[in-house]
Symmetry: C2
Subunit: 353 residues, 2 copies
């Protein structure tokens, strides 16, 4: 099991349905953990990284959730495969670099993962579509507890779990949800909303996490601080904000359709018209227009189109996905392929135009 | 015959097919004529205008080409009807004002017309779709010759036919063609082209003539000077330029498709996607997008769509056409009706998307 092909060939996990999927695209909980007596990856020598990878792999490969799953050694993957995994939100931009002794284990249902030798020795995460933060928290708690028995993670009674970056010290937990907020963006609520996050110990990031722009009105909301709080308190805080966000977003969408129904419907249908007819399209424009269609899915304009299908398309139009398996193609050819893919996937589905 | 309804209900003459219709939308030849012994309309008293109208009507109504045609007294039409006629390019903006003793006679096939008491006592014109300047010239020459027998137009051996504005003195002929030049606009040839016209005694105007902007890459090319030249020389000069324009426009379209076929096709299909899906559209945007479709008609993208149908749509989306017969509607409602009309007319026709 070293080829990424089975994952790459399968549909992305984002295509699943989940609670509150009209606003919440996905939920994720991850733990940062390290082995005692070995330096953090950034300061480790190659043989130390190799030792980490070997010990973690031994523990994970016998875990029942990873039976029949995937064990991918990052340096063994092509750059295209790594980009593909990053665009699917399965590995971080850091892992995409493919340095020596980096690996990822994925459960067969792509719901549970262990990244080895990223910033920390281990990054364990559980993820699912929709608003399921408690479920993914429980899944990653169970995994951590199982692996702790054989690996015995580095822990200080004073600071909690020790991590390469101090912001992860403590529980080492990051709970995050990806939300789609076209209503709040259109009604210009996002700046004020983002500003209110730090005082709650939370932060707002773009589609691909830290340092990524917000594209298509997608945002990740997660906890900033892991020290001095229990897992339950952290998840509680994120859940509380996400529940408020869902309400505000629903209210914003209602207001938009009440106050300027014609303009809002016009925007959705124009997006659909362009997506189903253009011959060339950048990934930014594609995501922006697909984002508009979510409105229309909510309003029943596209009975054959689900939120999951839109999520899948947003991933499918990313450069690495279009490039994958095609050899060297230039930007113009990629933009043409993207438009072709969108026409094929969307134009065949009935709409209420 | 005082109601405009029969004309308004019929499809516009622009929907006809004609030679070189991919570039030349229509051809028109008009004579300015005045009755001797009566002041020009601008300086005439009401009873003088009434006398002009009566004498001209008597002559025109017995002319065989106007049998079963239309005799419309402008003050008797509603503002909506007058706007409708102007948008159909049948009356001038000046006639649209509907002042007393103004009238228009139209032949049943809307190919020949006499406007009474516009700037001159008579404006006779012949018009048709496509590049048919010699044909419309011959038609208006024949009409003028017939009417001259009973009306005896004001003529000076030195200046030729006398007209209210000196620029029309001489033959009183204006020969004009409406051309569609998206290729020359896109390749930025229009400024230089327009600049070269005066030295040929010609001028370039917008879709609705003098003082109208060029919308959707439509232009009217016509002679500026009528003095010191014969009808044949005038028409010859316009024809010569139009023939060159057709060549240049064809060359420009070929270059665009050769040099950036993808971008050109993309532009056509995006226009079609928006036209068949938008819920609200201004008339300027509609004309601009319909103008793009002409490219696609040339390339066989829309087998069920003709240049005539596009011409008809360009008129049908004008504010007065949408307003007509609907009572008081606001701009937002009009924009919604326009989008609805475009979807109904275009979406039902098969395309090669």
């Amino acid at each position: 099991m070293t080829a990424a092909d089975p994952i790459l060939a399968s549909d992305t996990w984002l295509a699943r349905t989940g609670p509150e999927e009209h606003v919440v695209v996905s939920s994720r909980a991850r733990y940062a953990r390290n082995l005692p007596g070995l330096p953090f990856p950034m300061r480790a020598r190659p043989e130390e990284l190799a030792a980490v990878a070997e010990r973690v792999a031994a523990a994970v490969s016998v875990h029942p959730r990873f039976r029949d799953g995937y064990h991918l050694e990052l340096p063994g993957l092509t750059p295209g495969e790594r980009t593909y995994l990053k665009e699917n939100l399965l590995i971080s931009p850091e892992m995409e670099k493919g340095n020596e002794h980096r690996a990822i284990f994925l459960s067969p249902d792509i719901a549970l993962a262990v990244m080895i030798n990223e910033e920390d020795h281990l990054r364990l995460y559980a993820l699912d579509a929709g608003f399921r933060l408690n479920e993914v928290l429980n899944a990653v708690i169970a995994l951590e507890s199982d692996l702790a028995k054989s690996l015995g993670f580095a822990f200080s009674p004073k600071f909690g779990y020790l991590t390469a970056c101090p912001t992860n010290t403590g529980t080492g937990l990051r709970a995050s949800v990806m939300v789609h907020l076209p209503g709040m963006v259109a009604s210009k609520q996002m700046a004020e909303f983002a500003k209110s996050m730090p005082q709650l110990g939370l932060t707002v990031r773009g589609f691909y996490g830290e340092n990524s722009d917000h594209i298509g009105d997608f945002f990740q909301i997660s906890n900033e601080i892991t020290l001095g709080k229990s897992e339950e308190e952290i998840v509680q805080a994120v859940c509380h904000v996400v529940e408020r966000v869902i309400e505000r977003e629903e209210q914003a969408r209602r207001s938009i359709f009440e106050q300027s129904r014609g303009a809002a419907e016009d925007e959705v249908w124009r997006a659909y018209g362009i997506l189903t007819h253009a011959r060339s399209m950048s990934s930014d424009e594609a995501v922006r227009l697909l984002s508009r269609l979510r409105y229309g899915v909510d309003r029943g304009f596209f009975p054959a189109l689900s939120h999951g299908e839109l999520n899948r398309l947003i991933i499918a139009v990313q450069p690495g996905h279009l490039q994958y398996g095609r050899g060297a193609i230039g930007p113009a050819e990629r933009d043409a392929l993207r438009a072709e893919l969108l026409r094929a996937r969307l134009a065949s589905r009935p709409s209420n135009n």
